[in-house]
């Protein structure tokens, strides 16, 4: 099977989420997904762009979409905020030729919206599939009690993203179960963690994170798993503020790396603010 994508890492994966980037690249190489990093990519326009000026947000996304179109491949994205921003821009262009003309004028590059943008969770779950993944597991995450935390933009708004259910998504749950983990069912999986307010209204983000981590604890989980660099930072930073029992937070790709036996997996997790080492050691991982 020839699985080939341009890869858009996004700003966070260059710094705060460096371990996510490293685990994505290693895991994709291991699973036979060829990623070609988009040359000279820029900010996707999510977050502040999208919050203050829709035209600007569209144009920033459009520049990257136009660059990817030159390569001639669908684009794989790691960050759900980038994923939504890129997908909704592509959709607006497809829906309406006036939007396309305006975008082309702003970015001064041709763009026809011929290719798709997909999240890596979607690609691993649907292109590779659970059966293939299971065959590659050499170190099952046996009895490791986890909850999968999807957050907002992997599943909402469903008409734009939506490779999974918007209220009770299952892809990450099934993927982690295929790695051998004990995946707990819980009702916090699509709650918002307030990541966008983490730096400017700490108390709001702190309250949302406390609610989510308490729910995860009540479900019997000893760690949370995410596919979002902004959720990861926020869940780690704002749990660190609180007094409650701190749950380690993993990227789903880190756990795939661990289970399929990629040696450097342990070094990715050393970057976490909440160390998972004692949890992993207690499960012989």
């Amino acid at each position: 099977m020839d699985v080939k994508y341009t890869y858009y890492p996004g700003c966070s994966l260059e710094a705060t989420a460096g371990e996510y980037d490293r685990s994505v690249r290693a895991v994709c190489a291991h699973l036979g997904i060829e990623l070609q990093e988009l040359s000279d990519w820029s900010c996707c326009g999510a977050s502040s762009g999208h919050s203050t000026n829709r035209q600007l947000a569209r144009a920033l996304a459009g520049r990257n979409l136009a660059l990817a179109e030159r390569v001639g491949l669908d684009m794989a994205v790691a960050c759900p905020a980038c994923y939504l921003q890129l997908r909704s821009t592509c959709r607006e262009v497809r829906d309406n030729s006036q939007n396309r003309e305006e975008l082309v004028r702003l970015i001064d590059m041709p763009y026809e919206a011929r290719y798709d943008t997909r999240h890596l969770l979607d690609i691993i779950y649907n292109d590779i599939g659970l059966e293939e993944l299971k065959k590659k597991v050499v170190r099952p995450l046996e009895a490791l009690p986890l909850v999968s935390y999807y957050g907002c933009y992997l599943v909402r708004p469903p008409e734009v993203v939506g490779f999974d259910d918007s209220e009770n998504p299952q892809s990450m749950d099934k993927l982690l179960a295929a790695l051998g983990a004990e995946v707990k069912d819980w009702s916090g999986k699509v709650n918002c963690c307030g990541g966008g307010l983490s730096l400017n209204r700490r108390e709001i983000a702190g309250r949302l994170v406390a609610e989510i981590s308490e729910m995860a604890c009540r479900a019997g989980a000893q760690a949370m798993v995410t596919a979002c660099p902004l959720c990861h930072s926020n869940l780690e930073m704002r749990q660190a503020d609180g007094k409650q029992n701190k749950l380690p937070v993993f990227y789903f790709t880190e756990l795939i790396g661990l289970a399929v036996g990629i040696d450097e997996a342990a070094s990715w997790m050393r970057k976490h603010l909440i160390s998972p080492s004692s949890l992993l050691a207690s499960h012989d991982l």
Partner: protein, 193 residues
């Protein structure tokens, strides 16, 4: 929590609602005030007007009340309300529009924390083409004169290698800056975004 818009005069700006509808691409007249948005909103507990009240205020043309509210900045754009609204009212798109209008009309209180954050975030993108997280954090500290909160956390992040010291480098950063310039020109012409 109070569910009814408080003390509002209903003599508003009749041109406001059509403008918001057009710019947001959302027909807010479909809203029948069922409160699903406000009950499911994760940040409703800290808003001055709840999401369904914002919709009502826009319908009534109470422009200044809406554009100076904290709510439009607090909204985390989590898309929960839009996903669950039985009438398909895309409230996050309405919030996007109201924020853009508030900035355009210069009615936002000076130095408002969330606005300072957005401006700093975007000026970094304009300068580097990508976000330079370390510089973003330091600038926010200086601009809000809040030097001590999260200090320990920041230092730990530096130690763990979570913050890159060197700024990002793009070959075509001028292409990104040209996008910002064209946007400035559109705004100067008074085009709604």
């Amino acid at each position: 929590m109070q569910y009814v818009a408080k003390n509002v005069s209903i003599i508003g700006d009749t041109g406001f609602s059509p403008k918001v509808k057009e710019a947001s691409g959302t027909n807010i007249d479909r809203c029948y005030q069922c409160l699903t948005c406000s009950l499911d909103c994760p940040v409703a507990f800290t808003m001055d007007y709840l999401p369904h009240q914002v919709v009502r205020l826009v319908q009534l043309g109470l422009r200044r009340k809406v554009l100076t509210s904290d709510t439009i900045w607090i909204c985390a754009n989590c898309e929960t309300c839009a996903t669950r609204c039985p009438k398909d009212v895309a409230i996050p798109r309405v919030m996007d529009t109201l924020r853009a209008m508030a900035l355009q009309e210069k009615v936002v209180e000076k130095g408002k924390d969330i606005v300072v954050f957005h401006h700093t975030f975007l000026s970094n993108i304009r300068r580097w083409g990508r976000q330079y997280e370390l510089s973003l954090l330091l600038q926010i500290k200086f601009k809000t004169r809040d030097f001590f909160s999260d200090l320990g956390l920041g230092l730990r992040m530096l130690r763990q290698g979570k913050l890159k010291l060197r700024p990002p480098r793009l070959k075509d950063v001028t292409g990104v800056r040209a996008i910002f310039r064209r946007i400035d020109q559109s705004l100067a012409r008074g085009e709604w975004t």
